[in-house]
Subunit: 416 residues, 2 copies
């Protein structure tokens, strides 16, 4: 099978983008999808609702790439000129598509609104177009082919554009590139992006199919493994041994094979084991508890938490010994451990976790911003970890919260 | 004064954008700012870290517009090539800026990290550049002028790019367009974007200078009032009467005239009045406390909070009467009021605030998702508000947290 490495450019049409009223998230979506298919995206462009500029841009771009995807400019108003501009750029006629005409008429009858003459513009396409149905709006898309190249024309609203991409464009491009794609999304905690890449270097460097890509978002790490084949079955067969090897290398650092959040995984595991967790939060200040309560169903696994920001709160709520605070300070292994033990006694929860640290951005005496202790006590064993974060308050609080959730996960796996 | 209508294009440099790892929000920010200044943006472009493509794009674009703004590609690695590409496109040399060199060295000495030789690349600029300092990172920006046209070169991270735009680029462009812009950022809570527009309709519709624009972000409402004049003084003179009128219309719905967050305003006011707040959170689950503790200095105004998610926690920590829970339910005015009173007794804080509600997305019996009660007790007076949110859990929790902060603000203003 000859694999043709396509070059693509993405063009968004719409003055609202040039006015900054919206961000061009369509380009991001399409880039991610195309890059996963092994199609190189060389440029994004945004152009306003101006016939001359759109025509010129399409002519320029078509000279240097194999595939153009446009978004926007398919509405019923005279401002919406993408299809006309493409026809003009390629020197094609606009022709009426009877099926689209009927569907637009049906849509208006369904929503009990009157159709204007302009709405019929949405049933005209450059001659020879492949029409892409739009069950989520009135603007069908289309694919216009010319001299072995393709222009894929999609509507602007993401709710219409994305399903059209998955339902029509992905199969079209799979056929064109001669490949079927299937991905696994593996979530990882407990290592940085660069250590992950080092650990999997032999898989990342050597292999072209499946390919591996890492993404770090807000402290959680995503590894995407993508196989390309001529059928879904063949793609899965390619994925399996690589995912098995990754699983063996990373072990319990992997918390999900289905792109769940860490909080969701922890809730699921607590629920399976019918256990309740509570948190005593100092520097995280409620963020940790909030991460769990973000997830519907959290009430099954958490009854309460304490935000004990001051020393007095640590003494009054968690029975921390004032002498411990005096001797070791609020940010210390000893205080963290006493907080967790006291929390479990006060609440009767199964797993008690405390967090105490210097959130930053300023250092506190000889303790640097980012110094954090997290302690977990499950009635049998106490574990306390220490790490040094950064001078960034938001980062420290978020990363500490994720770290605490991960300790709960490891405890539930029996790997505390 | 001749007002020159400038034509601009925005170029983002970075393969991560073409891979879809991030959205090009910088283009949106810059477009909004430029369009507000009366500068027309004709295109956005995104191009990867590829020298030839960046050079070609700059040469093409420079032919047809007066102003190019680039973002990204100013980092220390060999991939970061924006300045080199501009120098090449304009046939200029790269020269070392001694001041930037010193600042980069100081930055590394401050964060106690070793500098690599590559970091020095950030101190080189196309000859004749105006250097733009970057107090928020290591990459200075620059402005390169050529034949009456300007290329403004900004870093990619929005936290670095936006301040650099406001501090250096806005004044530069003001001078270039012959108009001086000055904005007031008024923050509002307690009304929706459309009610705000209705209340200020006569100011929004009629006026061209100052102009008014509203932005809603995460439940907080921003009104930007911008005056254009030939001097800063004249701009301020234009702003004053309009801002006074807005102030009279909106009254205490305005919480900041300087673009602060609601949490920041609440912290400042508590600190001024030497008061402490505590929260008893049910549906918000720690998010409310976390919003305050997000802000450095929170430890001056908050000692502790309770997340009382279960009924038992409400009884044990806040002394809520089990009969109240039985009779009215956990989500009721009565329970909210008892939670706030019990919280103040338990913690000795000055202002105690409780939140109880149905976070959603599911309804709970005859209580709809989004039903929330918030109660505030300051030892003298108890106030409880009720409102109906949506079926969106994230929205309900966030909006409830902001509403609770706003109650604290109003209480501190004596407007409870």
């Amino acid at each position: 099978m000859v694999y043709h490495k396509m070059k693509a450019e993405i063009i968004a049409v719409g003055t609202e983008l040039l006015m900054g009223q919206i961000a061009n998230t369509n380009a991001q979506f399409l880039s991610r999808e195309l890059s996963e298919m092994g199609i190189d995206v060389h440029y994004h462009h945004v152009v306003g609702d101006n016939m001359q500029r759109v025509v010129e841009l399409i002519q320029t771009v078509l000279k240097r790439c194999d595939l153009i995807i446009t978004t926007g400019g398919l509405g019923p108003t005279m401002d919406d000129l993408t299809k006309d501009a493409i026809a003009q750029a390629l020197n094609k006629e606009m022709v009426l598509d009877e099926e689209s005409k009927t569907e637009i008429e049906n849509f208006f009858s369904m929503i009990h609104k009157n159709m204007t003459i302009n709405n019929m513009r949405q049933a005209y396409f450059p001659e020879g177009s492949i029409i892409l149905k739009n069950p989520n709006g009135t603007a069908p898309g289309c694919i216009v082919e010319s001299e072995g190249k393709a222009i894929v024309v999609l509507p602007g609203p993401p709710m219409e554009m994305q399903p059209m991409f998955y339902n029509h464009v992905l199969p079209y491009l799979s056929k064109k590139t001669g490949s079927f794609l299937r991905s696994k999304h593996i979530k990882i905690f407990g290592m940085g992006e660069s250590s992950l890449e080092t650990a999997l270097m032999h898989l990342i460097d050597g292999q072209t199919n499946p390919t591996l890509a890492t993404y770090a978002t807000g402290g959680e790490l995503l590894l995407r493994v993508t196989a390309k084949a001529e059928s879904e079955k063949e793609a899965l067969t390619l994925l399996e041994p690589v995912c098995d090897e990754i699983s063996e290398i990373l072990g319990s650092k992997i918390y999900s094979y289905t792109n769940e959040s860490l909080a969701q995984v922890v809730i699921n595991k607590l629920y399976e084991q019918k256990k309740h967790v509570s948190f005593a939060e100092s520097c995280t200040g409620g963020m940790l508890t909030s991460m769990l309560i973000d997830i519907p169903g959290a009430s099954n696994v958490i009854n309460e938490s304490f935000v004990t920001y001051s020393n007095e709160a640590k003494i009054n709520r968690l029975n921390v010994d004032p002498a411990t605070l005096e001797e070791h300070g609020a940010v210390s292994e000893q205080t963290a451990a006493e907080m967790a033990k006291g929390l479990r006694e006060a609440t009767g929860c199964d797993i008690a976790v405390s967090v105490t640290g210097i959130a930053g951005p300023e250092d506190a005496g000889d303790k640097k911003a980012g110094l954090v202790y997290i302690s977990l006590y499950d009635g049998k064993k106490a574990t306390t970890i220490k790490y040094q974060g950064r001078s960034n308050r938001e980062y420290n609080r978020r990363f500490s919260s994720l770290n605490a959730l991960n300790m709960v996960r490891l405890c539930l796996l029996g790997e505390q």
